[in-house]
């Protein structure tokens, strides 16, 4: 029982972190069809920007500024880089963003060095939320989860309940029709891409203070967020939330259960 409860708690918070990173990618990859390999780099960029500015303006202000900065970078990419390769198809977009990921990584190393930087959560957030079975449960984990839940609710309401949401969905579903109705489609795409990047930046700024902020953090998360978006269904926000939680829970429980195919076979007398 103890194992089940602790694993579920850990799995859900990790899943929510995955959702934070993949929410932006769902918008970009799922809705706009851009294979953005640099998405996890935006996550890393968010963490480093927050690390760099938080001593000057404080942790909370950094949580606002870092996503804005990353969002602007994202818009720049959508505006000036992607249109050049768009007509050549997905493969070229993938190559472009892959190159971008490498460039961001090397730039980070250039400015901040090869080693993990000391990006810490503020002292007022460093306490245990509750004690469960004699183990302290850090509040910051709940904070990460909370930010993800707020992010999901806001995005979902924005896309389904507001006029902006209708325009965005229309622009992605039938761009020519939406354009004919007088909407500025390139602008919409730029903002969607920027928002996606900003969400990744926010995830980095929040999670970087808990997990180490290092030049490899983008690579480490890069593959799994693509899995989330694909498993969750392209462009589905609810789907990617579900997929994130599923992967989070799965990895959390898989660690604790030492089952193997060999031990299953030993039940029928094939063990060693």
């Amino acid at each position: 029982m103890e194992f089940a409860i602790i694993s579920t708690l850990n799995g859900v918070t990790y899943g929510l972190l995955l959702f934070m990173v993949s929410a932006g990618l769902t918008l970009i990859f799922g809705m706009m069809g851009v294979l953005n390999f640099a998405h996890a780099s935006f996550y890393m960029l968010g963490a480093y920007v927050a690390y760099a500015i938080s001593p000057i303006i404080g942790f909370w202000a950094a949580l606002v500024i870092a996503p804005l900065f990353v969002g602007l970078v994202g818009m720049g990419v959508e505006r000036y880089l992607l249109p050049r390769v768009h007509k050549h198809g997905h493969a070229h977009e993938l190559l472009l963003t892959f190159g971008l990921a490498l460039i961001i990584e090397e730039l980070i190393k250039l400015f901040f060095g090869d080693f993990p930087v000391n990006y810490q959560m503020p002292a007022e957030l460093r306490f245990s939320a509750f004690t469960i079975f004699g183990t302290d449960y850090p509040f910051y984990r709940l904070f990460i989860g909370g930010v993800a839940v707020v992010m999901f609710t806001t995005l979902w309401l924005l896309l389904t309940r507001t006029r902006t949401g209708i325009v965005v969905r229309a622009a992605e579903r039938l761009p020519h029709m939406a354009e004919a109705l007088g909407h500025n489609i390139p602008l919409v795409f730029m903002f969607v891409f920027g928002t996606g990047a900003a969400l990744a930046g926010l995830a980095g700024a929040v999670a970087g203070a808990f997990y180490p902020t290092n030049p490899n953090m983008g690579i480490e998360l890069g593959v799994i967020v693509f899995v989330v978006v694909v498993v969750g269904g392209l462009g589905s926000l609810k789907g990617s939330l579900l997929a994130s939680l599923l992967i989070g829970l799965f990895s959390s429980f898989a660690v604790g259960l030492d089952w193997s195919l060999a031990s299953l076979l030993s039940l029928v007398g094939l063990g060693d």
Binding site: R141, Y211, N214, V255
Partner: protein, 410 residues
Amino acid sequence: MKHLTLVATASVAALATSIAHAEPLRIGIIESLSGAQTSTGRLYANAVKYGVDRINEAGGFNGEPVVVTEYDNAGGAPEAADKFRQAVADGVDIIVQGASSAIAGQLTEDVRKHNIRNPGDEILFMNLGGEAMELTGDKCQFYHFRFTTTAPMRVNALTSAMKEAGDLGTKVYAINQNYSWGQDMQAAIEAAAPEEGYEVVGEVLHDVNKIQDFAPFVARIKSAAPDTVITGNWSNDLLLLMKATGDAGLDVTFATAFLDQPGNIANAGKTALGHYIANNYDNAAGDGTFAETYRQATGHLPIFVEGHSAFAMAQLQEALKGLDFAGGPINVTEIALALENSTYDSPVGPISIRKEDHQSIRPVVVSKVVENPKFPAEGTTLGFAPVKIVEGKDAIYPVQESCEMDRPEG
């Protein structure tokens, strides 16, 4: 006409000087200088350059300064094989690598094949950091020398020193990365149990640097209730594990191999207090002379792997002292034979080479994280204080039976 004479004279002069020049000893650093392991690869390259500069300050070798070239293997074995061929084409005599056991495995095979095919034009491999047991076991060969510890050396030193200090306890948990190094660590932890009087209450092998959240592992460790957790984890796998343990409020002592990796202490903060490490060298363990010399030459104190890598180059310098090729061709086999017989008095004790498998017999330093140490880690008040220096003869383990070394004839 006058112009032509001038050109002719110039080229004759150039030819004459090139004849007068002796053949320099060439060292190739085939290291992870881009990609995920850059941070470690760069440190090895720094230390090798520092060591070569010392050789050149003392007059170089064979009448020429030693030439050192960097090759970037981008952290992968196939790229390392490519760079090895390039190094061969450049006429390199000695190759150096440290950041990865997998790459060391590739390079030692490449060196073996090259030496079989090119008798008289051998290449020597100085392995500064590949700790996989097989490199001095199954794959052992005459032209490979390992200038670092292995899992049993680290584990035996850790457990004996911690037992003496009364910090080991009787229940030990082993958590390691699931590849050759982690498996070697786990085997060494099991093997040392009877002698040091502890029981291994749990063992885990997990994915290498893929896990973002160690909380589930901490839950497992907690349910086994160990006194000490021994881990060979490095990089994120160590940092995340320690942080998760600290966040959960679990009171265990960590016995580690790579806690001195830059960034670890600062990131872990007070969580790291009281944890142990066994490594090749620590600034606080020596008398500080080497640390200061290194700082003056490079601008920073030797960190992480830089110390022992500089010692390896210093040992090469010792070996070269007894050789004289009179400006003629470099004979790598003679350098290897000289290395076998060399001893280098490092700041923490003498280092020599075991002839049977070319593992270095070297001291192992066991230290503990304390507040206000002699050399605090980057921007903190924490750092390492030496607990015990295990002498080479006590730290070494028996030669592996799988090692069958073909020695050069004559």
